[in-house]
Symmetry: C2
Subunit: 133 residues, 2 copies
DNA sequence: CCCCATACTCTCTTTTTGGTCAGTATAATT
DNA sequence: AATTATACTGACCAAAAAGAGAGTATGGGG
């Protein structure tokens, strides 16, 4: 309908199936809770140490944090700067690529912010409907 | 910086931590490969039967398809209409909530479409850097 | 001499996820 | 009477993800 972004996307390529698969893979890789959270945190304070991220990212385990950051570094979303001091000091910040993704995610954050209540309601309705049967 | 959407989001609520958690949960729930794919398919042809979705969603197993669709129904993203005929006929379509999410995802699709090459390149560079050490 | 701090890494175990395959209901078709 | 079609459900099993907890390196402070 008036979904111009979607239209824009649809019109761009002749939907090469190989490209499509790559795009899907990319999304599968990037659309993950911790990645999204870390990107948000790094958008708000553009330079963070490991420990800061660990504190800001409530509930994440050290292992997951390391793992997620490594993957993000590998994919060019963040830079990792190691200062050869003791105790160690490592700084993370978004690359331009990461910043672009951050902007792309905005719409989803806003949607979630605006609609989590509706989802909760839908769940209640669904549960009730199930019980009636 | 000039990231107005992000700014908008930041300015909306006084960042209630409980709300924040709910938003994160919502995103964690919704930012999943199959959900995103199904939403895209249902955006393009607004009414689909189970079998059509199975064919359009290459690689998905019946089990995952059922599971994902049920979760989407429970969360109010799609409606499921059962026609009591033989053989069975079930139609799925996006709700307004689902359509909203589809629009929110647009930015991410476009980003992925535009940048999967950059990610691939970043991976190559990273691998090379690792090999040098 | 011992402990602290930081940013990890490694191992072990548990949990979650997802795939495969078999089964179901029943009207229409052969 | 057997087969087909559709949209599932359930059992079982393998693989992957994730948590917990211990270990590591080392300069500076007490």
């Amino acid at each position: 309908m008036e979904n111009s972004l979607r239209k824009e996307l649809r019109d761009l390529p002749p939907s090469d199936p190989a490209v499509e698969r790559l795009v899907e893979e990319t999304i599968g890789r990037v659309a993950d809770k911790w990645t999204m959270l870390l990107i948000e945190i790094l958008t708000e304070n553009e330079c963070c140490r490991f420990g800061e991220l660990a504190r800001a990212c409530t509930g994440i385990s050290q292992k997951m944090l390391t793992q997620t950051l490594r993957a993000m570094e590998r994919d060019g979303l963040v830079t990792r700067t190691v200062y050869p001091v003791v105790p160690p000091k490592v700084e993370y910040r978004l690359t331009d690529l990461g910043l672009g993704l951050s902007k792309a995610f905005c719409g989803v954050w806003l949607w979630a912010e605006a609609n989590f209540g509706a989802i909760e309601q839908a769940r209640k309705d669904y549960a009730e409907k199930q019980n009636q049967k």
